[in-house]
């Protein structure tokens, strides 16, 4: 090719590149330097050493790239390093939380923990059975309230509302509702139940109402989004066959979106199951199993964790161990719910052709 300018000869395209071994060598070198520096400066603090190593690595690669490859490539390197660094940095708290929860939670993660309540237990022993059942009851009830309301609202917004004033208002206020601080929801449920059933009423149902206030907007948002993804051709085909609109929604639109709807709902459940503050105020506190949503306080797992942390008896270790085991249980429940939601979503992922 005659038009190829001599400066762009094939050698030049690859020339001025750092050799491939630069990165691993630089990592090892900067880590070593960082640790040496840290032990001189700050008494061998591990976090400080890693931070120093990262800075040294950044500066080193920057200088090397600038000399060998030029300014543009150097800034590309810098951006890449910062982005990867951000990712690693974010893994630190996640790793730390998981590690602490697992290592400290396993101390009491035993059969007694899941089969016993705290009734008549002082100090060691006992378990969180009452709290686990309570969490299932309260969250189940909250879902029973929120799912129909949320789903029907989503249907209204996606299928009926169009862009009329009511649907605009609903969309806006659903957004507002996502911003309701959880403790305010708890205060609301407590005051409402006090008004209806007499002062100081604390029971599982009250907790379920508080959770519903938090859960409904999440359900509406995700369900609306998913209903809008259903292709219009399906609706049109159904109408063309003379099927009424509501039957179309029930038999065509919802089945098409069902996997996404289910996973959206499960994610919403996962979002509220760990709420502490509203349940502390609304559902109350007990040491015994209570399977009646409508009478007497009901213990829930987050409240159990908080209470074990905040009001330990004299044998503090036993209470802290139970708190961590409760935290681990809570994380596991939420993780399983998340996984189930995602599996369902993936399983039915192709939304057309059904």
């Amino acid at each position: 090719m005659a038009t190829l300018s001599p400066t762009l000869a094939s050698g030049d395209l690859t020339s001025g590149r750092l050799p491939k071994f630069t990165v691993p060598v630089a990592i090892v070198a900067s880590l070593a330097l960082g640790y040496v520096l840290a032990s001189v400066l700050g008494g061998g603090n591990l976090a400080l050493a890693t931070l120093l190593a990262f800075v040294i690595y950044l500066v080193g690669i920057e200088i090397a790239a600038r000399i060998v490859e030029g300014a543009r490539q150097a800034s590309d390197h810098r951006a890449r390093n910062l982005i990867v660094g951000a990712f690693v940095l974010a893994l630190v708290p996640l790793g730390s939380v998981s590690w602490e929860a697992i290592s400290k939670g396993l101390a009491r993660f035993d059969a007694t923990y899941f089969s016993n309540s705290m009734r008549n237990v002082v100090g060691e022993g006992g378990g969180a059975a009452h709290a686990i059942y309570g969490t299932l009851w309260v969250t189940g009830m909250a879902s029973l309230i929120s799912v129909p309301i949320g789903l029907m609202t989503a249907i209204y917004l996606a299928e009926y509302g169009g862009r009329n004033r009511l649907s605009k208002a609903i969309t806006f206020f659903v957004d507002v509702m996502t911003g309701v601080p959880s403790i305010v929801a708890g205060l609301f449920a407590y005051a409402l139940m006090s008004l209806v059933f007499g002062p100081g009423t604390k029971n599982g149902f009250s907790g379920a109402i508080a959770l519903s206030v938090l859960m409904i907007p999440v359900v509406v948002r995700s369900c609306e989004e998913l209903l809008r993804l259903v292709p219009n051709e399906l609706r049109e085909a159904s109408y063309a066959l003379g099927v009424p609109k509501w039957v179309t929604i029930v038999r065509v639109v919802i089945p098409t979106a069902v996997s996404g709807l289910v996973s959206g709902i499960i994610l919403a459940v996962a979002r509220v199951i760990g709420e502490t503050a509203p349940l502390l105020i609304a559902a109350g506190f007990t040491a015994s199993v209570n399977n009646n949503l409508f009478a007497n306080p009901m213990m829930t797992l987050p409240v159990f964790v908080y209470d074990s942390y905040a009001h330990p008896g004299t044998d503090i270790q036993a209470y802290t161990d139970r708190a961590w085991a409760g935290a681990l249980t809570l994380i596991l429940i939420v993780m399983v719910l998340n996984l189930v939601g995602r599996l369902i979503a993936r399983r039915f992922a192709p939304k057309t052709g059904r």
Binding site: N45, A90, Y156, I170, V174, I183, K245, N338
Partner: protein, 328 residues
């Protein structure tokens, strides 16, 4: 309640298709019931929210209108002066948390969308999303029992060696439970929300623009600067606002981690940190009665208003962006 044909024509392009009313027969009882239930559900939500707001105003009003002298003797003192430091603490902690979280979140989102190998990207996204699902009480436990003791030496070092920097000055706290620690915990909690929203936006950046930039010889970072970030800016801002909303309302983690008092200060490492509204309510509600309860609930109203404003701004930005992308 009844469909008018003109009304259906008016619905936006791209909205769901509507059956022709005359053909489907508008008097079917099933249709009317179903539509009624759907509309009713929507109205119910509005009612619930009105109830929440109405209850806040009703229960909080004694504190808002009471005689300041009475508030001083039976409550926590004059309302505006009392709530201001907490409102400041709420916003300050949330802003700090976002200042820490947003750069990291954008980094992670870019890593997942543009840097990580495709096979790695999805599980990585899942791992980050898991953080969003970890209950706040767990973060509280972690923050107070693990993080605070761990960062204390760093704080001491920062205070002694970088005390000339205004934010790091003052007398360092001996416990590490400062507003900076609370902000780190909050940042960890909002990180996944901001990350997943940013990632979505980054993935939506027009592929053609990206490929064009790369074809012109841009490095990957230049491509991101030219083709991805300008496109994503409104989305990033909306994500930040949503994260802010979450950080403002967080209760349990802050309660367990922060040593908060009623104080307005920008210092990050001292013992006297401004407390947040949500944590103040959670801490004092059990012991409160009478006017104090009203005052705490009125503080809840203030928090509600702050989050409302933040949400409205986010909504407005998102709406503006929708207009722009529609014009493109």
């Amino acid at each position: 309640m009844t469909d008018t044909p003109t009304g259906q024509q008016d619905t936006a392009v791209g909205g769901p298709a509507q059956p022709v009313a005359g053909l489907t027969g508008r008097r079917r009882p099933g249709e009317a019931v179903f539509r009624g239930v759907a509309t009713g559900a929507g109205i119910l939500i509005l009612l619930i929210l009105m109830l929440v707001a109405g209850f806040l105003v009703f229960q909080g009003s004694p504190a808002l209108f009471a005689d300041p002298a009475k508030l001083a003797s039976q409550g926590y003192g004059e309302f505006a002066a009392w709530v201001l430091p907490y409102a400041f603490g709420t916003v300050w902690a949330a802003v700090l948390a976002l200042a820490l979280a947003v750069p990291v979140a954008i980094g992670i989102a870019l890593f997942i969308s543009h840097y990580a190998p495709r096979r790695l990207a999805q599980p990585l996204g899942y791992v980050i999303d898991l953080l969003a699902a970890v209950p706040s009480v767990v973060f509280g436990l972690w923050g107070s029992l693990v993080l605070a003791p761990a960062v204390f030496p760093l704080y001491k070092w920062l205070n002694e060696n970088m005390g000339w920097f205004p934010l790091f000055s003052g007398r360092y706290s001996g416990t590490g439970r400062t507003i900076l620690t609370a902000a780190i915990v909050l940042a960890t909690m909002v990180l996944p929300i901001v990350t997943s929203l940013c990632r979505e936006v980054f993935l939506q950046a027009p592929r053609l623009h990206e490929e064009a930039a790369l074809a012109l010889g841009a490095t990957r970072w230049e491509m991101i600067k030219m083709a991805v970030l300008p496109f994503a800016r409104p989305g990033i801002i909306a994500a930040v606002m949503l994260g802010l909303g979450r950080a403002l309302g967080e209760t349990m983690a802050v309660t367990m981690v922060l040593s908060g008092t009623r104080n307005i200060t920008f210092l990050l490492l001292t013992s006297e940190n401004p407390n947040t509204i949500a944590a103040t309510i959670a801490q004092n509600f059990p012991e409160a009665s009478g006017l104090k309860t009203s005052q705490l609930i009125a503080a809840g109203l203030v928090l509600f208003l702050i989050t409302l404003v933040v949400n409205m701004i986010a909504r407005w930005i998102v709406a503006r962006r929708a207009e722009y992308s529609g014009a493109n």
